[in-house]
């Protein structure tokens, strides 16, 4: 099992996610969905070590994550954050070549021949081979997202974490990106995405994990979890679930009555 979370609790000062238990199978695509402030991005930050857990542990390849060096983790786990800083004056190929850093010892100045081969391979894989010499700041939103995906893939990870990868993309680019991820997933890469759009999550994921107020409300195969009751509790909307050519999809009808639980305070 490439990734397991045991009783994971953490946040900024107050814990935002509490007692999360999860295990990700080899080659599985898991999506974290939930309302704003439900803790899905925080959970991803805890897994990717941007935040330190207050309790519990992240277990990678059978070993607790703090037993690895930062570089060793970066060889197994890569992250595509929600918003990237766009480096000025850097070409796509230079950007992607930074993805080989986890494999370079500190004294190594240049990439090896194998490293460059990997960089070229991921550029081909993401359809960015024609953009290699373009400056990153000159790319469109969709191309930029693919360039950063290529950077994450250059790390040759077992597990790929993506925080809202489709947020700033139009529908065409959203589907392109997710289809690309599907291909990677079918080649054996485990994927965890935080997705705002429940329909996209339902369409592409193997399993959904619904978060509500920092806890897992429901987790399981899409057909088991995607019920009107769960969506009403987690998102506060009344919905009908439709069978469509791309699987189960959600059609929101109206905001549901206030839930019995107290409203959560945003941080």
């Amino acid at each position: 099992m490439p990734l397991e979370l045991h009783h994971l609790t953490g946040g900024y000062t107050k814990p935002i996610v509490q007692d999360i238990n999860l295990s990700l199978q080899q080659g599985e695509w898991l999506s974290l969905v939930g309302a704003n402030g439900s803790g899905k991005s925080t959970l991803l930050k805890l897994v990717s070590r941007i935040l330190t857990p207050q309790q519990g542990a992240v277990v990678l390849d059978g070993k607790a994550i703090h037993q690895f060096s930062s570089q060793a983790i970066a060889r197994k786990l890569s992250l595509l954050p929600q918003q990237q800083k766009i480096p000025v004056g850097v070409t796509v190929r230079q950007l992607v070549s930074l993805g080989r850093s986890p494999y370079q010892p500190w004294w190594q100045w240049e990439l090896t021949h194998q490293d460059w081969e990997k960089v070229n391979a991921v550029l081909v894989q993401t359809g960015m081979e024609a953009f290699g010499d373009r400056p990153v700041e000159a790319l469109s939103g969709g191309e930029r997202q693919r360039a950063f995906l290529a950077l994450a893939l250059a790390q040759d990870p077992k597990v790929l974490l993506l925080d809202e990868p489709t947020t700033y993309l139009d529908i065409n680019y959203q589907l392109q990106l997710l289809e690309l991820l599907k291909t990677l997933n079918q080649q054996g890469m485990a994927i965890v995405t935080v997705l705002h759009d429940v329909n996209l999550a339902a369409r592409y994921s193997d399993r959904l994990s619904m978060l509500r107020q920092g806890k897992i409300w429901a987790i399981g195969a899409v057909s088991d979890v995607l019920t009107p009751e769960n969506l009403s509790q987690v998102f506060g909307v009344d919905v009908v679930i439709l069978e469509t050519p791309v699987g189960l999809q959600v059609c929101p009808l109206s905001p549901s009555e206030p839930t019995p639980l107290p409203m959560q305070h945003p941080l």
């Binding site: 983790i73 060889r75 786990l77 918003q83 850097v90 930074l98 290699g132």
Partner: protein
């Protein structure tokens, strides 16, 4: 097959990039060499080519030999060392803080060194110890700023910058009070030191600070790949295997040691650390593997040229005034040249 197909393209692109770096390095190197030779020839007593050659071989007039070996050469070397230290220090901090306004003195170095040396010079005590004390003051202030920059989880860039500004203005106020209370002769000495001057720097300063700055320069250049990763933002840098806290202490530490070493040699010379990395990035782009070593070359070039200007008038100016006079317009020009690109 695809992989092989794109190989020549990337080779060509890499070659082009290397060519650009090589040209920039060559340009800086030739500039530096000319300034060094000019600096050795020019001065109150001008040496001709022939005299310079003879003096370099320890032949000819004894006066010329003394001028070359004991006055001009150590001063030029001091300018090179200090300029390189300030250039690399500024480039490291601008890269780490992702802020083009960062300079070696942002984290309180100038304020700490300035206060301590102003105190010694205006009170007239332990004046021989001013360089060491300035170094100590610089390091101590930076430690305070780093302490202020700590957050629960690590080290915040915003807090570091704000802490540096706050501590600097506090220490600057105390320094001004000391200067106002001092008598005229001592104010003169303190002001000269505070503006930064290379006047009278000899082999002893070079021998003490030179090796230490040399080691720190190499250390700084080895951090280039980490700086490149930090430029992608905290989250991606962590994802790529950078330890944020460790790398910030390391980069900030080397930058501080460099700037403090420079300050201990010739006082507070502004603008070199701010302007040089901007100029170098214009030449070779933002890859810090090239920006850092070329900032060393560029800093050495700018400071030795400024010192040449400072002592070519009838009265010698402190070199810090010349760097500020040259640096401010240059900086404004760089900013205006850069702005359409960053907006577009």
């Amino acid at each position: 097959m695809n992989v092989i197909r794109f190989q020549p393209l990337h080779r060509a692109q890499q070659a082009l990039c290397h060519y650009r770096v090589l040209m920039a390095a060559l340009l800086l190197f030739i500039g530096l060499l000319s300034v060094i030779i000019l600096s050795l020839c020019w001065g109150a007593v001008s040496l001709s080519w022939e005299e310079l050659g003879l003096a370099a071989l320890r032949q000819g007039s004894l006066t010329n030999q003394t001028i070359l070996w004991d006055l001009r050469l150590p001063r030029v070397i001091a300018a090179l060392i200090v300029g390189a230290a300030l250039g690399v220090s500024g480039a490291l901090l601008q890269g780490m803080l992702r802020n083009g306004l960062a300079d070696p003195f942002l984290l309180g170095i100038s304020a700490g060194a300035g206060l301590v040396s102003a105190a010694l010079l205006t009170l007239g005590v332990f004046q021989a110890w001013v360089p060491v004390a300035a170094w100590g003051g610089a390091i101590a202030t930076t430690l305070i700023v780093y302490f202020l920059g700590r957050t629960g989880a690590g080290l915040s860039v915003e807090r570091l910058i704000l802490g540096g500004v706050a501590v600097s203005s506090l220490l600057a106020a105390i320094q001004s009070a000391l200067l106002l209370a001092a008598d005229d002769g001592r104010i003169q000495a303190a002001l000269t030191w505070l503006t930064g001057s290379l006047n009278g720097r000899g082999w002893s300063e070079v021998a003490i600070a030179g090796p230490y700055i040399g080691v720190a320069l190499i250390g700084g250049c080895l951090l280039a790949r980490t700086v490149n990763l930090l430029n992608l933002g905290d989250e991606l840098a962590v994802g790529l295997g950078v330890s944020l806290v460790q790398s910030r202490y390391l980069i900030g530490g080397v930058a501080t040691l460099l700037a403090a070493g420079a300050v201990s040699m010739c006082g507070l010379i502004g603008f070199v650390g701010l302007v040089v990395p901007h100029g170098v990035r214009l030449l070779v782009g933002t890859d810090y593997r090239w920006v850092l070593p070329l900032s060393a070359l560029g800093g050495a070039l700018v400071l030795s040229f400024a010192d040449l200007l400072a002592r070519s008038g009838a009265v010698e100016f402190p070199v810090g005034i010349v760097t500020a006079l040259m640096g401010s317009p240059l900086f404004i020009w760089l900013l205006y040249r850069r702005s359409p690109m960053s907006e577009g």
